[in-house]
């Protein structure tokens, strides 16, 4: 299996401006992404899970080149894309993104057909006819009727808007699609429709997905690999099935056991024991960021940030005492 995307020690810090002087250099930073190295394998789906402040959205936006990384490398389809010389237009032919809020994903003044065709007009050198054909194919692929081309977003439901966003993302036939909480704003029945659609499109177009979500159930359903983030760091990485069955990082254990199961006989929620809150992103605790809340924390945890270690083939955990959760 070859990788479609690989990040190496990717960081994104946001300067925090103190005081009124716009020229002063920032001394404090929000460490949104603090050294993340992960691999997305071609044709698979990786779910990047975590709660608010973990940096998963910033990670997605940095990979999508919507914001410049502070340091680190991103290698997409064999080529590094972080240098200033990168032609983002070429990258976007193969890398696209779908956002969380269907309401703000579409320009309310632009017709559906033109919205779907926008990436084609901006990235490809195609004729008007080629664009028209591609838009028709996209609409059919996402299950929307052809007369939608002339409609405005205001006439569509949330689920339909999300379909248009998906159609727009796949129209240039990308290789990797980043899905930023694609169903969080949708009702359960619409969510199911969209999830099935995403699976179908993955098969038909040989897509790789990077799914950003806080919903463990959706992550488990859709993904092959899982990356768990906490406060800017990658704490666990491996096959979804393996992590769901036997999570090893203390945070992952808490996270997965907090996800409500649709099963009244398995009331996992009432057994969860996790204390404390997510730490400040500007002043994180020294050492492992989870140590103030970790039931297994000891000595070295508050001094040294743990590195990712392999606990079994392909399963990586960043914990000093990972053997305690075996």
């Amino acid at each position: 299996m070859e990788p479609i995307l690989q990040t190496t020690d990717l960081t994104k810090y946001f300067p925090v401006q103190r005081g009124l002087n716009p020229f002063s250099k920032a001394k404090k930073f929000v460490r949104a992404v603090d050294g993340v190295s992960l691999t997305i394998w071609k044709g698979t789906t990786i779910a990047v899970v975590g709660e608010s402040g973990c940096g998963k959205t910033t990670l997605a936006r940095t990979i999508a080149l919507l914001t410049k990384p502070t340091s680190g490398d991103i290698v997409f389809d064999g080529r590094s894309i972080v240098s200033g010389k990168t032609n983002s237009k070429l990258v976007y032919r193969d890398l696209q993104m779908i956002f969380q809020d269907p309401e703000s994903s579409l320009d309310p003044n632009i017709k559906v057909g033109d919205t779907i065709g926008e990436p084609l007009e901006g990235l490809m050198e195609w004729s008007k006819n080629e664009v028209k054909n591609a838009v028709e194919k996209s609409l059919a692929a996402v299950g929307l009727p052809q007369d939608s081309v002339d409609r405005l977003p205001g006439q569509l439901s949330g689920g339909q808007k999300q379909r248009v966003a998906i159609a727009r993302a796949i129209s240039p036939q990308p290789k990797l699609v980043i899905l930023d909480e694609p169903t969080s704003a949708l009702d359960a029945s619409v969510q199911a429709q969209i999830l099935r659609l995403l699976l179908q499109l993955q098969k038909d177009y040989a897509l790789s997905y990077m799914l950003i979500t806080h919903n463990i159930a959706v992550a488990e359903y859709l993904s092959d690999y899982m990356a768990v983030m906490y406060s800017g760091n990658l704490v666990e990485y491996g096959l979804t099935e393996e992590i769901m069955a036997k999570p090893r990082h203390p945070y992952t254990i808490a996270l997965i056991s907090s996800a409500p199961l649709a099963n009244p006989w398995k009331r996992n929620l009432l057994q969860v024991e996790i204390r404390g809150e997510v730490p400040s992103a500007i002043n994180p605790p020294p050492g492992c960021k989870f140590n103030p809340r970790c039931p297994y924390a000891d000595g070295i945890c508050s001094r040294e940030i743990p590195k990712l270690k392999e606990v079994s083939s392909g399963h990586l955990v960043a914990c000093h005492f990972v053997e305690k959760t075996a």
Binding site: E51, S52, S157, G159, D187, A188, S189, V190, Q191, A192, Q193, L195, R196, L199, H214, N215, I216, A217, V218, E220, Y221, L222, T240, E241, M244, A254, L255, S257, S258, A259, P260, L261, A262, N263, P264, W265, R267, N268, L269, L270, V272, I274, R275, G276, E277, V278
Partner: protein
């Protein structure tokens, strides 16, 4: 032949035939259509449904906070401990709202006053409770005076003024209520302003304030939707524990069926303004009667894609601006029959403590009857 045994459980709230509509420039929407619902003592009833089903409208109607120009209660009654809340005017409703019926909302930042410290706001809640207790004591003592000529006790609490330093007994009570909701370092938290705290802490403070009133009913409208998963677990667990301690019933409004499965005793499923099924959580999950409930359950992702075959419900929710004859689910139901589009099925109890509005179930309703 089985005769239905009517079990008289103590009903805290009985909603009967409630019909609410919203009037806007786009048309008239029937948000609640002859809804019938019971909330029992010491239970957690979860009302689940998707957007537009009317669950929030139901919660607001019970607490008496329906925005009066667009919303109108056309019919029905909400009987709370013998009193029909709908017939009350605002002044009398205030005796119930916030005291016997407490409410917490989805976004605690807008429920807490941003310009006052958290400790002060909790103090206010406690003082309200005290004066309420005194009021009750006053009523009792007036009665005692009239009948038995016993002198009334002296009035102690004078009401709460913001800005005054909190000390002594009141401060201890505030810290105790914060400890009850497991807020760490309560001594410092009472000096904080709401925006300085996280969403989870704010919601726990809301719970503390609501439960300090020792209400008979706590209405929680999507209380954990805006919270992280781990925080949600903590808050729900807390709510369950405090419920038994304070002997409060909880009406939990949520769009998340999984959350309902985890904490509810009974579940009511709503669709397009109707309550379509009510049952205890185990029966609902193992023996769903209404096709919509079945549909909802089978579109939840409960495992990996290789093992689970998601069956989305085809179609979409009908437009409630145009009146619909018959059952509202006909456009999406896989078992639709002729009678379904002619007349709306009645909401009846077909099995013990299991009510449903569907012609597939119950003698009274359709040609099919299921006796279990």
């Amino acid at each position: 032949m089985t005769c239905w045994r009517r079990v008289e459980l103590s009903n805290l709230v009985r909603v009967e035939d409630l019909t609410v509509c919203y009037e806007s420039r786009g048309g008239k929407v029937t948000a609640l259509d002859k809804v019938r619902l019971d909330i029992r003592s010491n239970e957690l009833l979860a009302v689940v449904g998707e957007s537009g089903c009317g669950k929030s409208t139901l919660a607001l109607a019970i607490i008496g906070l329906l925005p009066n120009p667009p919303a109108r209660i056309l019919n029905g009654e909400i009987v709370f401990r013998g009193t029909d809340l709908i017939r009350l005017d605002q002044a009398n409703m205030r005796k119930y709202r916030g005291t016997q019926i407490a409410m917490i909302f989805q976004e605690p930042l807008s429920s807490l006053n941003p310009v006052y410290k958290v400790g002060d706001q909790i103090a206010e809640a406690i003082m309200v409770k005290r004066s309420r207790d005194e009021g009750m004591a006053q009523v009792e003592s007036d009665f005692m005076q009239k009948t038995h000529k016993i002198d009334p006790p002296p009035k102690i609490s004078k009401g709460f003024r913001y800005g005054k330093r909190i000390s002594g007994e009141l401060k201890d009570e505030i810290i105790a209520s914060l400890k009850l909701v497991r807020i760490p370092d309560p001594e410092h938290v009472i000096e904080r302003y709401p925006f300085e705290l996280s969403g989870g802490m704010r919601q726990r403070i809301m719970i503390a304030m609501a439960l300090s009133q020792e209400p008979a009913l706590l209405v929680a409208d999507e209380p954990t939707t805006a919270l992280d998963v781990t925080t949600q677990a903590q808050v729900l667990k807390l709510m369950k524990e405090l419920m038994t301690k304070v002997k409060t019933s909880v009406l939990l409004i949520t769009h998340d069926l999984a959350v309902a499965c985890q904490v509810a005793d009974r579940v009511a499923v709503m669709y397009a303004g109707d309550v379509v099924e009510t049952a205890n959580v185990f029966d609902l999950f193992s023996k769903p009667l209404h096709p919509y409930t079945e549909g909802l359950l089978s579109c939840l992702p409960t495992g990996s894609k290789s093992k689970v075959d998601l069956k989305p419900i085809p179609g979409s929710v009908p437009d409630l601006r145009s009146p619909i004859v018959g059952c509202k689910y006909v456009s999406r139901c896989p078992f639709v029959m002729k009678t379904c589009s002619e007349r709306k099925p009645e909401f009846i109890e077909t099995m013990e403590n299991h009510e449903v509005a569907c012609y597939l179930h119950g003698e009274k309703n359709g040609t099919n009857s299921t006796n279990n």
